[in-house]
């Protein structure tokens, strides 16, 4: 326990010290790189904006992720159960996934003009549904017939087999994908906030730091983003413990 908490905290300290030292030794001005010691002032001055921005970024990320879970599961089920659907959709999905989303932001912005929240949630969704769909699809299509037969031999319906076998069996893969997806959704939200600025979220705070040449603020936002990202990630880890704890390998 001590080690589980202590080692990461120590590592974080070392990292901050190294960062501070790097800046001090090179004598970099703020506009090259702010140092950790500059950050508390930035937080103190703008804490209300940080809270507001974090909240806006957070809810839109989570909303997009929820959509991605629903959409990804449906798509994954279609691909997992039908080989033709899989053959047809997979290359399209790979292609769509490969389009750098930065170029999609303006396109979306034009398509749904002025719907900032909608656009942001949509981007979070678009960037994060792919891994979920793929993992659910693979999970279902590689379901061992032995498992299916347990219930089939009793004359169970397809739906019962899906609910009682396929779904829970796929949960570990699903959560594995969700861990990737949550970071992606977060990236998607921020991408919109930066590339199509509309004054919301931590991305907007970052941009206002940039406009005013307030470099410590920019770095403070960066750190806040990292913290929020870690929270989201470990939120998913926590859900995984609860719902798919049986599949979590004991540490060692």
């Amino acid at each position: 326990m001590l080690r589980q908490i202590g080692v990461p905290v120590l590592a974080l300290l070392v990292f901050c010290l190294a960062w501070e030292a790097l800046v001090q030794v090179n004598g970099w001005p703020n506009y090259v790189m702010a140092s950790p010691s500059d950050l508390p002032a930035a937080y103190a001055r703008f804490w209300d904006l940080f809270l507001l921005g974090a909240w806006q970024t957070l809810w839109r990320t989570v909303a997009g992720l929820v959509l991605a879970v629903i959409g990804g599961m449906i798509l994954g089920m279609i691909m997992g159960f039908s080989r033709v659907a899989n053959d047809a959709l997979y290359p399209l999905l790979v292609g769509f996934n490969a389009i750098p989303k930065a170029t999609l932001v303006p396109v979306l912005a034009l398509l749904f003009i002025g719907q900032h929240d909608f656009n942001t949630v949509l981007m979070a969704f678009l960037i994060s549904f792919f891994p979920i769909a793929v993992s659910v699809g693979i999970g279902l299509s590689t379901l061992e017939p032995e498992y299916r037969d347990i219930l089939r031999a009793l004359g169970a319906s397809r739906m019962a087999i899906f609910r009682k076998i396929a779904l829970p069996k796929t949960l570990p893969e699903f959560f594995g994908a969700l861990k990737v997806a949550v970071t992606l959704a977060f990236i998607g939200t921020n991408l919109v906030e930066i590339v199509s600025p509309h004054g919301k979220g931590l991305g907007a705070l970052f941009l206002s730091g940039q406009t005013n040449s307030n470099y410590p603020l920019m770095f403070a936002v960066l750190i806040a983003l990292a913290v929020l990202g870690i929270l989201l990630y470990y939120g998913v880890v926590w859900l995984e413990r609860i719902f798919a704890g049986w599949a979590v390998r004991p540490a060692g």
Binding site: P29, V32, P106, I113, G114, S196, K200, S208, N212, S213
Partner: protein, 316 residues
């Protein structure tokens, strides 16, 4: 002779208003001054200023108002404006006559589209104060850059803030006829602020004063050449940005010359220099929209040392 390398950081991608610098290269003005100039695109003034401040680029091109903020946040950074290019900043409010926007007073009760980090939007409160507008009566729609002009074209906003030579042309391409556009250049309505200037790294300038002087002179010549022959300027640009649309960029260039560079004041008093009294007023106006850590002196961000007395001559 030994050539001094002077990489030059632009604030934006290669568009019409950047053509004079390429023309200056092609016409040999930099080479004549013993300079080897390579021009780099940028992603905004906030990208160009640190490039010069860190010394990576001895010279750059950026908005003076952004420089004021930068020097306020980073006092003592070795960067200063050495030559004013946009005597009138391109900050503008563009409305549509068909939506009832003919003059500033019509903005009362209207919907205004503005991207939060937009430079023109940042000065809008000054414009509003100078024209007696009530900010509270205006509905401000935060829009992303990509959607600003389409929203105007679709009539979802009555007016937008933006650069005169960018937003007008974009809107025109989207089907808003020039006759339908009301372009209110903020400078025409009491905004004292200056626009983009040539920046120099002060450390570099202290060691190479002649190089800087030569550079500024070559820039002035480039602009004169561009005014004399815009087609040639655009040709020089197209060589560097082959995806550009020649007609569009030429109009952009001509608009910037007309509205921002060759103003009446410049025609009378010279190109590159500033009017100290106006600068004082600009600082005062800026204070109404930005909290200076310390009220600056004009001298901290504009230094005419490397300019000839009275600036350069620039004429049609």
């Amino acid at each position: 002779a030994q050539e001094t390398a002077m990489p030059f950081a632009l604030d934006w991608v290669f568009e019409g208003p950047a053509a004079p610098y390429f023309l200056a290269i092609d016409n040999g003005h930099f080479a004549d001054a013993g300079l080897e100039v390579e021009i780099t695109a940028g992603s905004g003034s906030l990208d160009a200023i640190p490039k010069v401040a860190t010394g990576a680029y001895p010279v750059g091109f950026a908005d003076l108002n952004s420089l004021m903020r930068f020097l306020d946040q980073n006092p003592g950074a070795p960067v200063v404006a050495a030559m004013m290019i946009y005597d009138a900043p391109p900050f503008a409010v563009i409305g549509r006559k068909s939506l009832g926007i003919e003059e500033p007073a019509d903005l009362d009760g209207a919907t205004l589209g503005a991207p939060p980090p937009d430079g023109a939007w940042a000065q809008f409160p000054i414009f509003a104060a100078e024209t007696g507008l009530d900010m509270d009566s205006i509905t401000v729609e935060p829009v992303g850059f990509p959607t600003r002009e389409p929203m105007l074209a679709a009539g979802e906003v009555d007016a937008i803030t933006g650069f005169s030579f960018t937003s007008t042309l974009n809107a025109e391409r989207l089907g808003v006829a020039p006759e339908d556009q009301t372009v209110m250049l903020m400078a025409d309505y009491g905004l004292a602020l200056y626009g983009n200037a040539i920046l120099v790294n002060t450390d570099f300038a202290a060691e190479n004063p002649e190089a800087v002087e030569g550079f500024l002179a070559a820039v002035a010549e480039g602009w004169q050449d561009a005014i004399d022959d815009p087609e040639a300027a655009i040709e020089a640009l197209l060589e560097r940005n082959s995806a550009a649309d020649a007609d569009l960029e030429q109009r952009r260039l001509e608009l910037s010359i007309r509205d921002n560079v060759l103003t009446d004041w410049v025609a009378q008093n010279g190109f590159g220099i500033i009017d100290p009294a106006r600068m004082e007023e600009a600082i005062a106006q800026t204070e109404t929209v930005y909290d200076f850590q310390e009220t600056p002196e004009a001298a901290t961000f504009f230094d005419a040392t490397w300019l000839p007395e009275g600036g350069f001559d620039l004429s049609e």
